[in-house]
């Protein structure tokens, strides 16, 4: 058997490799999601990422922190400080950027030190590995004096020296988040020691709770939900207690003050009255002293008593007075505790769905490879059995049983299958998660390597499939042949007879064809099985390429499509406070000239769900203000919404929603399974509404809903007032410059540039290229294996024919062309079929990758199709080149000797 393998290693390898490919893909893709989640889980556990995060409007004092720590179900509770500030890096010429400054927590959210050392002094810090690297150690970060007083007061230090670069479990994503300062985007975070902050109260408490299960598992969700409830209750009660104390303190302070005031006043009046009494005593009559008779007749004690009672205040009155006094004082409102979980962490939220994308396409690829593997095995084993035909006949005539004869072939294909299966499995579970991990590394800041999981069940299934494709297939094939009589087998098998093909009947075409082309066509149809296999294999290769290029095309184009076709405004402005006439006009005074046109909108974030039921999602609602005029002559307030947003469906422009209606984006509509005319329920800070979907507009990225101003007012407090605007910049300005200028206008809190959004999205897609490369490799491997196998078999079978042709005097080129012409024709045909298949595959994949925030339209683009086709032809041609030497090596004399 070993001899058999060694004599024709090519065949054995072909089966082995194709099985490996199929198994590799299957196991790799299946395990991907698990691997990714396990790896993240492991990392987050190692760094002890928080389970619950508490934020209070009052902040937390040390007692409250201890209170949380004492709660059952809490492992560790740690308090933290944070702020966003404008800062500059020592050597950078870029000026100021918005930076998130966070205190280092030592037991929860432990940062992973990558280079350098931990900060010791208060003016040292760890820097974000996404924005800084090793050479930045030693540079200083200076907090700008442009920050608000509150921010500046909060930080004891204004300069921080970078002592080390770190990766924080809180920022596993490339996103650093939004803020109210600067350009609205945070560029980086730095971690500083707690003592760098000057604050009486913690801004947040991070809790590491006792939880069950892996991230995203039901067990985990359950344990967090329970912890959340308990902790909120505990925190609220402690906060209330403190609040009560604050209020009580304030009240008693006020009371004391009032009493003091009253006492002073009382004293004054008493003195006055006593003075008057004295005057009376020295005067003659009451009139002289200017007092009334009744008053004059009072003694000192009586006067005192009168004043006492005049100034006596009931408790009620006293409270009222305290209330009045406090009303003007700057006292906080009752505390509100917000409890956050990991779901509010950008990386955590996105990772789950991102990890699942891969497995949703896991089903179809391996299936295809297994099919090809089965075909390769059939043809190879057929060839082997044909070659051994006489030998098999002899064995049978000698009396060997079918089983004994077949066993050789089972062993051959079985061993190839098992070796391929094992090799493929381990290669697959190593390569594919690695590839995907690396591919995701641009979007997520992932540590090192993923966890490699060995899944026994998967392993056994893989082997079973591998054996199915090889041994079972062999059995089917053997069965046929071995049913023949021994005598039949010993006689050489007649070669398949030549037949006229269909095309020949169309004589005008047939006559015009070159002779050698006729040969090729006849050959194609002569071996239908191989024809089919080549078709499947090559078209599969092309289909893979088309799908790969298509995916890349879709994703790369999304950013530009969204911001080129659908979102037309250059920038979105958010105002510090909802605009009043006065603030609007002072804004316009500053901004006129900076923008080409502007439209005011009201935007609020709330929840939306289908009235019919189902989960709710968070979404931003926008009400467009279509009737505000500008206060300035040179400020172009546009009321044509279509200049700013393209709200269309199937080419038709949609009108803005009336009262009771809502316009929803395609992504969200798909995700909530809504169509025009359906009812939805929206809820905001101030109320809920039932609305009818009046239209679904097309978009590619993100979600957004449009509602009327009345609806906005109903659901959101102060919803009717404009708190944002869309702007178009003049054509000849640099958008970033314009955005920065606009940020300086009165009342402007934040300017978000569409360009930035588009760029950010496109750059996050760069990891795709890596994955596409892997796809191309696999497609190539598929093509190579199929072509190699077929050509090999072809040549083996037609050795005499090729030798004859060489004897006739065909040059090497001509002899090769004789054999390969049909390969080429078949490749071209298969390639064409593959283009079609690829499009179908792409549609299938896009259907599986359904995310609410992305709308994917399966489009490949000319380059995709052309590239796929060209690559397929290239693979085919390369293989032919490789096989040429086999043809050249056919020894004429040897080949023509055997019995026909």
């Amino acid at each position: 058997m070993i001899r058999e393998i060694l004599s024709s290693p090519g065949r054995f390898l072909a089966i082995l490799l194709i099985v490996a490919l199929g198994v590799g893909f299957y196991s790799g893709l299946c395990i991907c999601q698990k691997t990714m989640i396990s790896s993240m889980d492991r990392y987050w556990n190692k760094q002890n990422m928080y389970d619950v995060r508490l934020i209070s409007t009052l902040g937390f004092d040390e007692d409250e922190l201890q209170n949380i720590q004492k709660q059952s179900g809490v492992n560790v509770a740690e308090g933290g400080y944070f702020t966003d500030a404008l800062a500059s890096v020592s050597d950078a010429a870029d000026g100021e950027e918005a930076v998130h400054i966070q205190s280092i927590t030592e037991q929860v959210n432990v940062p992973e030190l990558l280079q350098g050392r931990l900060p010791g002094a208060a003016d040292e810090c760890l820097a974000d590995d996404a924005a800084f690297d090793e050479k930045d150690i030693g540079s200083t970060i200076t907090v700008s004096s442009d920050n608000t007083k509150d921010t500046l007061d909060l930080l004891r230090e204004k300069t921080f020296t970078i002592t080390g670069i770190c990766r924080s479990p809180l920022y596993m994503n490339a996103e650093r988040g939004n803020t109210d300062i600067g350009s609205g985007r945070l560029s980086a975070y730095i971690l500083v020691p707690q003592k760098a902050f000057d604050s009486d109260y913690y801004h947040e408490i991070y809790v590491d709770a006792v939880t069950d299960g892996q991230i995203y598992s039901t067990a985990y969700k359950k344990s967090v939900s329970m912890a959340k409830k308990a902790l909120k209750k505990a925190a609220l009660s402690a906060a209330d207690t403190r609040y009560q104390k604050i209020m009580d303190d304030a009240r008693s302070e006020a009371k004391v003050k009032i009493e003091d005031e009253m006492a002073v006043k009382k004293k004054e009046v008493l003195e006055e009255k006593l003075k008057q009494l004295k005057q009376l005593q020295t005067a003659q009559t009451a009139q002289t002293a200017g007092m009334t008779d009744s008053a004059a007749s009072m003694s000192e004690a009586e006067i005192k008593k009168q004043i006492e009672s005049k100034f006596a205040v009931s408790d009620e009155e006293m409270n009222r007075m305290i209330d009045d006094a406090l009303a003007d004082a700057d006292l906080p409102d009752a505390p509100q505790i917000t409890v956050l979980t990991r779901n509010e962490n950008a990386a955590y939220a996105g990772f789950d769905s991102d990890a699942s994308i891969v497995s949703s396409i896991a089903q179809i690829f391996p299936l295809f490879f297994f099919l090809v593997a089965a075909l390769v095995c059939i043809t190879t084993m057929t060839r082997m059995i044909e070659d051994d035909r006489a030998q098999i006949g002899i064995f049978k005539s000698l009396g060997y049983s079918n089983a004994a004869v077949m066993s050789k072939y089972f062993l051959y294909s079985g061993s190839a299958g098992i070796l391929g299966g094992i090799g493929g499995y381990f290669a697959g579970i190593w390569l594919l998660p690695n590839a995907v991990w690396t591919g995701y590394a641009t979007t997520y800041d992932l540590p090192g390597k993923p966890v490699y999981l060995f899944d026994l069940k998967l392993f056994l299934i893989s082997l079973a499939v591998a054996l199915l494709c090889t041994v079972f297939v062999t059995w089917i094939r053997c069965h046929e042949d071995l049913d023949c009589e021994a005598a039949d087998l010993i006689r050489p098998k007649a070669p398949p007879i030549g037949k006229k093909i269909l095309l020949e009947r169309i004589s005008p075409i047939w006559k015009k064809m070159s002779f050698l082309h006729k040969v090729t066509l006849r050959n194609l149809f002569r071996y239908k099985g191989r024809f089919l296999m080549m078709l499947i294999g090559i078209s599969g290769c092309t289909a893979l390429l088309v799908a790969g290029f298509g995916i890349r095309n879709i994703f790369m184009g999304l950013g530009n499509e969204q911001y080129g076709v659908y979102t037309l405004y250059d920038g979105a402005v958010s105002f510090t406070d909802p605009l009043t006439d006065r603030t609007r006009s002072s804004f316009e005074q500053d901004a006129a000239g900076m923008v080409r046109s502007i439209i005011y909108v009201s935007q609020h974030s709330g929840d939306i769900a289908a009235s019919a039921g189902g989960s709710s999602s968070e979404i931003t609602f926008t009400a467009m203000d279509t009737d505000t005029d500008s206060s300035q002559d040179d400020m172009n307030v546009d009321t044509q919404t279509s200049h700013f947003v393209n709200l269309e469906q199937g080419g038709q422009v949609l009108s803005l929603p009336a009262d009771g209606e809502i316009l929803l984006d395609l992504g969200m509509a798909r995700s909530l399974k809504l169509k025009k005319g359906d009812q939805v329920r929206i809820s905001g800070t101030d109320g809920e509404c039932e609305l009818t979907v009046s239209g679904i507009y097309e978009n590619r990225l993100g979600n957004g809903a449009y509602i009327s101003t009345e609806t906005m007012e109903q659901c959101f407090e102060g919803g009717a007032a404009d708190n944002a605007a869309f702007v178009l910049f003049p054509d000849d300005v640099q958008v970033h410059q314009a955005g920065k200028e606009l940020l300086g206008a009165s009342n402007v809190a934040n300017v978000t540039l569409s360009q930035d959004n588009a760029d950010r999205f496109t750059s996050s897609m760069e990891g795709l290229d890596y994955i596409i490369f892997v796809v191309i490799l696999c497609a190539g491997a598929l093509a190579f294996i199929v072509i190699y196998n077929l050509t090999n078999i072809n040549i083996s079978e037609r050795m005499r024919e090729i030798a004859t042709v060489k004897v006739l005097g065909f040059y090497e080129n001509e002899a090769c062309a004789y054999v390969f012409r049909e390969n080429t024709m078949l490749s071209v045909l298969s390639g064409a079929v593959g283009l079609l298949l690829g499009k179908c595959l792409l549609i299938f994949i896009v259907d599986r990758i359904s995310l609410a925030t992305l709308v994917l339209t399966p489009q490949v683009g000319i380059i995709g199709y052309a590239g796929s086709f060209v690559l397929t032809m290239l693979f085919s041609w390369l293989m032919q080149l490789f096989m040429r030497h086999r043809i050249a090596g056919i020894h004429m004399a040897e080949s023509l000797k055997s019995v026909e």
């Binding site: 007649a494 030549g498 002779f515 002569r526 004859t804 006739l808 005097g809 004429m892 004399a893």
Partner: protein, 239 residues
């Protein structure tokens, strides 16, 4: 018919062919020399394994020689490169095999066309087929032809190339007595008519009378060479 030139039309001069298999050397041909004249029918006889086929293969440019010279019409092919040998085979040689070696996927006519396509001065395929008497069978595939008919197609294919030399390796080996005779007659007639040189390799001594020259080969060497002054027409030979 002797050539008046210094060299014969076909000449083997001290030709040796050695096969090496590891350490073992096998001499298929040892220092063989002979001549054949133009337009002759030459039969090479010998027992199985004597080296006749090797001889033919070398003459036909299908195999290389280890030592010596091989001349055809004034050209020594001993030093030819692979490409040159292919050219040599293409234009100068027509081959007929024991087992026909027709392309199964082509009709009789197309098999002949295959050969005529690559030559510079080919004969018309249909005409040649007609000459071998297979006009009605032009459109049939080899599987639809009898052994004799297939061999005739093979001969037609070889002839269509209009070669200088027709080499036949046991052409009647797979055919019955009568069919074999027909084939041999065809070869003889063609030779006479076209003044073509024909070399036939066989182990059947009985047909030697039809030849102009008989070369006996044994153990890789020429045992004897004998010129027939009056070759017998095939139809008169019985065996």
């Amino acid at each position: 018919m002797e050539e008046s030139q210094s060299r014969a039309y076909i000449e083997f001069s001290h030709v040796t062919k050695t096969y090496r298999s590891g350490e073992v050397k096998i001499n298929a041909l040892s220092d063989i020399s002979f001549q054949i004249g133009k337009g002759e029918i030459c039969i090479i006889v010998g027992a199985s394994g004597a080296g006749k086929t090797t001889l033919l293969n070398i003459l036909g440019g299908m195999d290389t020689l280890s030592a010596g010279e091989v001349w055809l019409d004034g050209n020594n092919i001993a030093g030819y490169s692979r490409k040159q040998l292919t050219t040599y085979r293409r234009y100068e040689i027509g081959f007929v095999f024991q087992f026909y070696n027709l392309i199964q996927n082509l009709t009789a006519l197309e098999n002949v066309e295959l050969a005529s396509q690559i030559c510079t001065r080919p004969l018309n395929p249909a005409d040649v087929l007609d000459e071998v008497g297979l006009h009605e069978r032009e459109g049939n595939f080899p599987s639809q032809l009898s052994g004799g008919e297939q061999q005739r197609v093979a001969i037609a294919r070889a002839l269509a190339k209009n070669p200088k030399l027709l080499l036949c390796d046991e052409p009647t080996g797979a055919l019955d007595y009568n069919t074999g005779k027909t084939i041999l007659k065809l070869l003889q007639d063609t030779c006479r008519k076209n003044n073509m040189t024909v070399v036939i390799v066989t182990h059947n001594l009985a047909i030697c009378p039809m030849a102009d020259r008989v070369i006996r080969v044994r153990s890789g060497q020429v045992e004897s060479m004998h010129v027939n002054e009056h070759p017998t027409p095939v139809e008169n030979i019985e065996w």
